[in-house]
């Protein structure tokens, strides 16, 4: 048999076509993808297919009849990746080193249920990249900042984007690398190390410095800087946009929203304000922690919310309706209500995805339903429930990425005749 994956090297948000030819006609086969992660875990996905009369299986055209995905799913071999049986629990697949590609081996086996008993008939390695060709990665360490700056090739100038992640902390560069591959100078900013939120000083100044790194960069168009954020990062973003005199972005994207802030012009209070409602944490039958009611309780305290009525730039909110980690949809409702009442409703773009969880990542990232989390206030390691059903969640990742890219392109690449 002949297996081809086209293209065999691509960016992670690009689709590929997996085609097998020269098979016996109308026979059962399994296509399986295998990835060995940076953390040393093995992830796999597989689909059960039947070859057609000409001995062909096309993942883009044919139906999978079981496995980790079913139906017509051209990218099922990537988005339905999950830890192989027997792996550690609470895993989440995230690339730390974005300068190297994710290597995924796609193999073909005889049969369906017992496919693992056979050795693969044919296999191919495919590379999935976060950094496109010509992208430069520059480590940012001056002024006490900790981040990674990604610059596209070409003369520029480019719009800039500040990229803020959530409560897990650390430096996560993959989304920034991908945005750079799509034409933006992107700064991934670490604002606290995992487990060290309590001890980190999160004054506005730190973020303002980072914002200026972008704005003042010789290749960045200074009045075309945006912010993209997820989870805890959304509070940081909204607080800065509302209260910082220095940070006036052209547009903002907030994924999986939170608006409970800490008092004052600092974000250092998180480790106090959020845990104040930890009595609302529930657990499911697997002892996974559900935090969404913490958010609901906090929503009821107006003094603890970012005053979104003061926002003056286009804002895009992306949320999952099955978010078990936070009440993201209710938060977005609250934001909408406040902004509408203030006459700012026209700035808002909202997308809520059904059966989608908390971790809305770039397309084809494996869905993380529950994952390990280090609670900053108690230094405890727990497993948090993020929610979402794999197929709808993956569709949401795919769709939201495209919507986010077009939102960014509209506000950062096209000029406005009239400023809003």
């Amino acid at each position: 048999p002949i297996l081809s994956v086209r293209p065999s090297r691509a960016l992670v948000d690009e689709a590929f076509e997996v085609l097998v030819e020269n098979l016996p006609p109308v026979s059962p086969f399994t296509l399986r993808s295998l990835h060995h992660s940076e953390d040393g875990d093995d992830w796999e996905a597989y689909g059960h297919y039947f070859s057609d009369h000409s001995g062909r299986v096309s993942v883009s055209e044919d139906l999978s009849f079981g496995g980790t995905y079913s139906g017509r799913e051209p990218m099922g071999l990537i988005w339905s990746l999950r830890p192989v049986p027997g792996s550690r629990t609470g895993l989440r697949l995230r690339k730390k080193d974005v300068t190297t590609p994710m290597l995924i081996t796609i193999s073909l086996y005889n049969g369906h249920e017992d496919f693992r008993d056979n050795s693969p008939l044919v296999s191919m390695v495919t590379e999935r990249w976060y950094m496109g060709p010509g992208i430069q990665r520059i480590e940012i360490t001056d002024g006490g900042l900790r981040g990674g700056l990604f610059i596209p090739p070409g003369p520029g100038p480019f719009p800039g984007i500040l990229d803020l992640w959530g409560g897990g902390g650390g430096l996560l560069e993959y989304r920034s690398a991908l945005l750079a591959s799509r034409g933006y100078i992107c700064l991934a900013l670490e604002y606290f190390k995992t487990g060290q939120m309590k001890s980190t000083d999160l004054s506005f100044e730190y973020f303002e410095k980072a914002y200026h790194v972008l704005k003042d960069h010789p290749q960045v168009i200074p009045d075309r800087v945006g912010i993209i954020s997820l989870c805890l990062g959304t509070i940081v973003t909204l607080s800065l946009v509302v209260e910082s005199a220095e940070i006036k972005p052209s547009c903002v994207v907030c994924i999986s929203n939170m608006i409970t802030k800490s008092p004052g012009k600092t974000l250092s209070g998180f480790h106090r304000s959020i845990p104040s409602k930890f009595n609302k944490i529930r657990v499911d039958e697997n002892n996974h922690q559900i935090w969404r009611d913490v958010g609901l309780a906090l929503l009821k305290e107006p003094s603890m919310k970012v005053d979104v009525a003061k926002i003056n730039c286009p804002l895009m909110l992306v949320n999952g309706c099955d978010d078990q980690n936070w009440c993201a949809v209710e938060t977005a409702d609250d934001i909408s209500k406040t902004m509408n009442a203030a006459g700012k409703g026209h700035l808002l773009t909202r997308v809520d995805y059904p059966d989608t969880g908390h971790l809305i990542e770039p397309p084809f990232s494996p869905h993380c339903f529950a994952g390990n989390f280090f609670v900053y206030s108690s230094n405890e390691k727990v497993i948090q429930l993020y929610g979402g059903k794999t197929k709808p969640h993956s569709d949401a990742q795919d769709d939201s990425w495209r919507k986010i890219l077009s939102f960014l392109r509209h506000h950062l690449y096209c000029s406005h005749k009239a400023k809003m």
């Binding site: 293209p7 020269n22 098979l23 296999s123 191919m124 060709p133 010509g134 070409g154 480019f158 690449y413």
Partner: protein, 426 residues
Amino acid sequence: MPQMASYVILCSPVVLCLWEETKTSVSDSLKNNVSWHGLGVSTLSWVLVWSRRRWRPTDASNLQRDTNKAEDQSATACSRRVSEDCSIGGTYSGVEAMGLLWSLQPVPGSKPGLRMRKKNVQAPMVVTISVYSSHLTEGFGDQVPLAGVEVERWYMAPGVQRIPVTEDGLTATLFLPSGPGPFPGLLDLWGGGGQLVEYRAALLASHGIASMALDYLTCKYTMETGKIVEQDYFEMAYKFLQKHPKVLGSRIAMLGLSLGTSVILKIAVHSQIMKLRCAVCVSGSHVQPMDGFLKEILDYFSKNSGNTHFTKDNEVVWRDLLLPIPTDLSLKVDMKGMMERAGNSHLLTLLSYPNAGHLIEPPYMPHARVSLFREIQSRQKLMVLWGGQTLEHSRAQEDAWRKLLVFLRKNLYSGVKSGSSSLSNL
């Protein structure tokens, strides 16, 4: 403050796999989708390609007779696709999805007689595609492009292994496809320029054929002894492939260009040891002495060197070296005749491309009509006219490659049953 127009070029796939691959489109085989988005582009734009070395801006003046679209400028981004729109001039014209690659030429002022060939196949060829804001034919270096993007073109797919081969006196490189195997094998022979040329074998391995590029003119043996190799050198290469654990010994093919064709035809007819499953001969001739082997073939060419012409630019034309085709049977491997008599002319597939030149390479490689060539025997450097008109030659390369892959696949892969991973060297 004047509004800065910004442009973004999208090239999909951005990180490309194989030299001859491009983005899928519905009907065609994969094509490179180069499009650029910008706002308010009322002037004519250009797309340019720079290869990392000194190769040229291929210019394509692209579409954009947009003056009647002035009213659309404000709201929507205006975008163009190379695969859909028309180039109205430059190094190519018309709707040419891959024109930015196959019409690459050396920048003005370069050395004459250049030919683009990738030496190190383990690294990609990096091509920069840029947009300029007016129709340019020169002076690209002075202008600042509006936007630029880099694209990588690879000869080796991920997982393909490159293995230098020096045992059994061979000078060769083996490329193994990724996967458990076993795979059909192929011996890849280039022409009279000698050297170890790897890119075609690397590309074939990326298509599932264990391919070995073989140097037979400037190999270690010849460089040390001064003697031309004999038939046993090729038989050694064949046996090497045959006994390799990842190669299906009963499915070995040969591919040759130019002089390589002469060798293949001789072997296909005369060798008792080499049982080829199929053979592909590009730009070659079946006219050669029946006795002897490679040395005799080369001597025959030398003998006929009186038939060499020179163009007015002093370029060497070797076309008539072997003309007129002798009817003397001792002077040629009479393939067609013999095949017809033996009743196996159905084995012959003949492809002739009008206006294509001698160097029919993998697709999208820039066409070299003339290039500097070092003659093996005399060690002389000559400017040789290979021929071909760029557009037809490039189409021929694209078509020939596709047909070549189908031919190889049909002959090397058909009839292999699914559970045959245990098939060893039959």
